[in-house]
Structure formats: structure tokens, C-alpha cells
Symmetry: C2
Subunit: 321 residues, 2 copies
């Protein structure tokens, strides 16, 4: 079986359960991703190549392909590559915003090549996504991806606006996560197939994914997440674990996030964990995944497709455990 390099366990489960078509198409997506980043000068080759090699779960391409199904339109493969290029572009830009040294345990483009190159590299990946999708001649897909990209940027702006603000409400946090993460998962599903039931599925697992990611930032361990615990807190990003923890430990609302150093951030992580907030957030995420899977039942899928989509949804949870 052709398999993308460094495939993490939950994705392996999906690949193992699928028949031949899925890994083959994911291999094709990797080829398109590679193509999209070569021939644009040695700098992009190096920077984007490093981003590609750093792997990632290719969850969004997998959702596109799974929703499109084995008989899916050939355009789905292009759309799968395009959505991953947008995702990669936002990661490269996020690392500029956060001045992050590491991503998936490897140095970020911003760290190795500087902010300037990282901004331009992100712009290039972004442009290549739309070039790839428009070559396929389908404006519905371009519209979907452009609107999701708007949402991503809105989510990022909302995160900037709310940075260091311990008064951020749960509702505001969830709205931001829907923009920043949910919409791209939703877009992936709709790129694969034009079906309303998939909107709830994609948005639901995307939101669960973000919640669990925010739990991982507090719980670590660093060896698994590839970055230090409390990175979000150091960036001033107030996430659900902290909001939830402050319900039982209100003094947490008085912490000055701007004054945190690495050790204090670790200490704050321990304090959040001590309230049991991580389990409560995890439960919320599990409920979201269960609800997303129920949304799947309304869609007219082949048994294999539904089973594989369920496995992807379960994968959201497995990455935590």
C-alpha cells in the first residue's frame, strides 16, 4: 500500500480499514502537494518541502476523499491537495504570529528562514491552492475554499483581539474555534460532496479537534505534542481548559498571562489540570464527536464510507488518549 510518510496511528486505522482506493488517492494528493511546491525557486522548495516533510495527519484531504467516496469526482483529489495547501499556509503564518520555534517537533519556517520568508511562503502556498483548484474548473469548490479561508483569518483575528483577556466567555471561545478550525473541516467534507448533513459532521469534529488540541497544550507531554506545555498560555491565548478551570478556581482569572515565563506556564498548566477541567473539556469533545457521528446517519453513504468517516471522527479522540 502506498502511504504518506510518517502516518500517525489514528490515520493508520482508517487506512487499514479502507480498501485500496483511499491510500492510492492519498498518494496522489501527496504527489500534487509536492508538485505544487517545486519549481518555484529553491527557497520555497526548501521551506515548503520542510513543511511537507514535517508530515501532519492529512486529516482534511482524507475527509475530502472519504466524503467523495470511491466513485468520487477526480476533482476531489485536487480539492484534497488544495485544502491541505491552505492548511499549511495558515500553519506557516500562525508560526509567524506566534513566533513559534517548533511545530510537530521540528523548527518552523519562521524560525529557520525568518518572518519575511515565512509570510511570503504562506502567501505562495495559499495562492497555489487556488491555482490548483481553479485549474480543475469548478467555481463551487473555489467558493467553498475561499469562504473557509476568510473564516480562518477571521478566527485568527478574533484570537488576536481576545489575547491575554481572561474575561473571554465560553461562547466567544467556541465561536472563535468554529471559525479557526471548524470551518475548514466542514469545507473539507463539502468539497468532497455537496450534502447538507456533512456540514454538521465536519464542523462538529473540527470543533472537537480544537478542544482536544487545547487540552493537549495543557496536558502535554511535550515529547508527544512536539512543543512545550502551556505554549497557548504564553501566547496569551485563553482556551476552554482555562475558562473551565476558572469556574472552580476563580483566582485563575487574576493571573497575569503577560508576566508568564516557561516555568510559570508549566505551573499554570498543573493548576488547570488540578481542577479536573481537562477531563470536563475532553468529555465535551467526546460528546461533539458522538453528535457529529449521528449527523452522518442522515447522509446517504456506502457502508464502507460511513465506517471510515466514523473512524476519522474517532481519531479525533484517539489523538488525546
Amino acid at each position: 500500500m502506498t502511504r504518506p510518510s510518517s502516518v500517525p496511528p489514528p490515520v493508520t486505522a482508517v487506512l487499514d480499514a479502507s480498501s485500496r482506493w483511499l491510500p492510492e488517492r492519498l498518494g496522489e494528493v501527496e504527489r500534487l502537494l509536492r508538485e505544487a511546491t517545486v519549481g518555484y525557486g529553491e527557497i520555497l522548495g526548501a521551506d515548503a518541502g520542510a513543511t511537507l516533510d514535517a508530515g501532519g495527519k492529512r486529516l482534511r484531504p482524507m475527509l475530502v476523499l472519504l466524503c467523495a467516496g470511491p466513485a468520487g469526482d477526480p476533482i476531489a483529489t485536487r480539492a484534497a491537495a488544495a485544502i491541505e495547501l491552505v492548511h499549511m499556509a495558515t500553519l506557516v503564518h500562525d508560526d509567524v504570529l506566534d513566533a513559534a520555534p517548533l511545530r510537530r517537533g521540528l523548527p518552523t519556517v519562521a524560525a529557520t528562514s525568518g518572518r519575511g520568508r515565512a509570510v511570503a511562503t504562506g502567501d505562495l502556498l495559499f495562492s497555489r491552492a487556488f491555482a490548483l483548484l481553479s485549474e480543475a474548473g469548478d467555481t463551487r469548490s473555489v467558493s467553498l475554499l475561499a469562504d473557509a479561508s476568510v473564516a480562518l483569518a477571521q478566527g485568527e483575528l478574533a484570537q488576536r483581539r481576545d489575547a491575554f483577556d481572561l474575561g473571554v466567555s465560553e461562547g466567544r471561545y467556541l465561536a472563535r474555534c468554529r471559525l479557526k478550525t471548524g470551518r475548514l473541516f466542514e469545507c473539507a467534507c463539502l468539497l468532497g460532496r455537496d450534502e447538507e448533513a456533512l456540514r454538521g459532521f465536519g464542523a462538529g469534529i473540527g470543533l472537537a479537534f480544537q478542544l482536544l488540541d487545547d487540552v493537549l497544550d495543557v496536558s502535554g507531554p511535550a515529547e508527544r505534542t512536539g512543543k512545550a506545555r502551556g505554549t497557548d498560555l504564553l501566547d496569551g491565548t485563553v482556551t476552554l481548559p482555562l475558562i473551565e478551570a476558572a469556574k472552580s478556581d476563580p483566582a485563575l482569572r487574576e493571573v497575569d498571562l503577560r508576566a508568564l515565563d516557561d516555568d510559570a506556564a508549566e505551573g499554570l498548566c498543573d493548576r488547570i489540570a488540578a481542577t479536573g477541567a481537562l477531563e470536563r473539556v475532553r468529555t465535551r469533545a467526546l460528546e461533539m464527536v458522538a453528535e457529529a457521528k449521528r449527523a452522518l446517519e442522515d447522509a446517504d453513504f456506502e457502508p464502507e464510507q460511513r465506517q471510515l468517516l466514523s473512524l476519522v471522527a474517532d481519531g479525533m479522540v484517539q489523538r488525546y488518549s
Copy 2:
């Protein structure tokens, strides 16, 4: 006549010479630009609104509309707004890269709102461009704009790569300008009308525009350009005036651009000007404009359209004089 606010003189000449349709459509473009940046939160409203209000010549939208002509497809107006959104996005990102305090004499988004918000604001403007264009349902336009955006980012990366390198050749400089500036002008023309002759016209005036912009950086005056003289030199950007000046004053190749301060940059500008390089670069740009206008002769245009496009080409020169 409805006119975009703060219209600079060369553009006024085009508007004055045109019949009613052009200013009306430019008014519509302004409306679309405004629409594209409201309703996405107060931050974007403020940041993008400030970028919009800072004006700009709307040269690229004007090229789209002029090439489309009075009987042009309604899609041209959307394409005109979309290309200006991409242009705005790159300006916002460029100011992050260069940490520029001023643009058109006003504070940049990067300066007022910080790098993080500027990166996200640029991403949002960029995404809105593709959303706007894909709503019109024309993949040819999306492809053209995406490919031009790829070229812009490549040009930006080339500029990073060559920064502070006084050995950069004229050919390398010109290739970078074609990517960074020429391609978007070319794209503007082709968005208006699918005609091969327009490729040379757009690319030619775009290149001339960049050469004259690089002359202005050296010649100033700051009151006119809205930024200090020698800003490019301080950023390590080696442009044609310096390359040309070094032909008659080879010691210029030994200058350490990294060691420049504001005063030394002004001094270097004077030294470049003393070689007569500015006149020589200006002459090159004038030749490019003349050649671009010859390319127009091959295209099948109404007399008014050809006259107005010539006026835009002349405007490239007027901004210098």
C-alpha cells in the same frame, strides 16, 4: 461624476478623458471593496478600512475596466475589485516584512495593529478576493488571479533571497520586478479581456511602474512619496538605480547596506543620484512605456479605449515627473 476619493493626478487625467461609464464603474469597484471589508469584525473593519481610505491609485482596477471596455462583462467589475484586494493584501503583508511605519504617508496596519493582526488582515483580504471572484462563477479569472498571486509571492521571496546582495545582476532585478509587479498589471489586463497583445502591454507598464517607483525611493522627496528616501536601501533591497550607479561608481558595490542608518541612506541616495543613474533608469522606463503602447496597436480596441489605456501608460511616467 462619481469619483473614488483622493484620486491622484494621472488617474484624474484618465477619468476626465473618459465618458461616463468608467467613473461609474470605478465607483462600483469602491463599493465592492468597502463591502468586502465590512461585516468581518471591527478589527478588520478598522484595519482594512484604513488601508482603503489611504487610497491608492486603483490602477489595477482601472486597467481591468479599461481592457473590458464600455460594453464589458459585468464580471469585470468584480475582477477589478478582486485584484485590488489582492494588491491591498500584499501591501499589508509587505509592510509586515519590511516593518514599515508608513505607507502613502499614513501608518501601516503592521505599525498600528501589530504584525500578528497585519498577517491575518492580509490573509483575510486575500481570501475575500478569491471569494468575490468565485461568486461570479468564472474559473478563468480565478486561475489568472491565483497564478499572478503565486508570481507576487515568488517575487517577494526572490527579493528576500537577494537582500543585501550588491552583486545582484540587472537581469535578476528585472526578473524579480516582473514577478513582483509586472504580473499583476498583466493579470489586470487579461482579467478585462482575453487578448494576447494585452500581456505585453500590462507587463511592460508594470515593469516601468516598478522602475520608476525604485527611482522615487532614491529621489524622493519624502513629502511626495509618503516615506523617507532610501527606504529600499535600508531594507537591503538592491534596485536598478543602485545597480546602474555602480557601473560608473564601482565603489558603491562595497557599501555595507546592513550598516546603514537613516542619514547614511540619504547620503547613499545622493551618491546614486550624482552618477546620473536616475535619469538613465527613467529613460529605460520611458522606453518600456513606449513599447507597451506599441503592443496596444495590435489589439482591436475602440478609439476611446485605446486612448484611455495610453493615458494610463503615460500616467506611469507622470507619477515621476
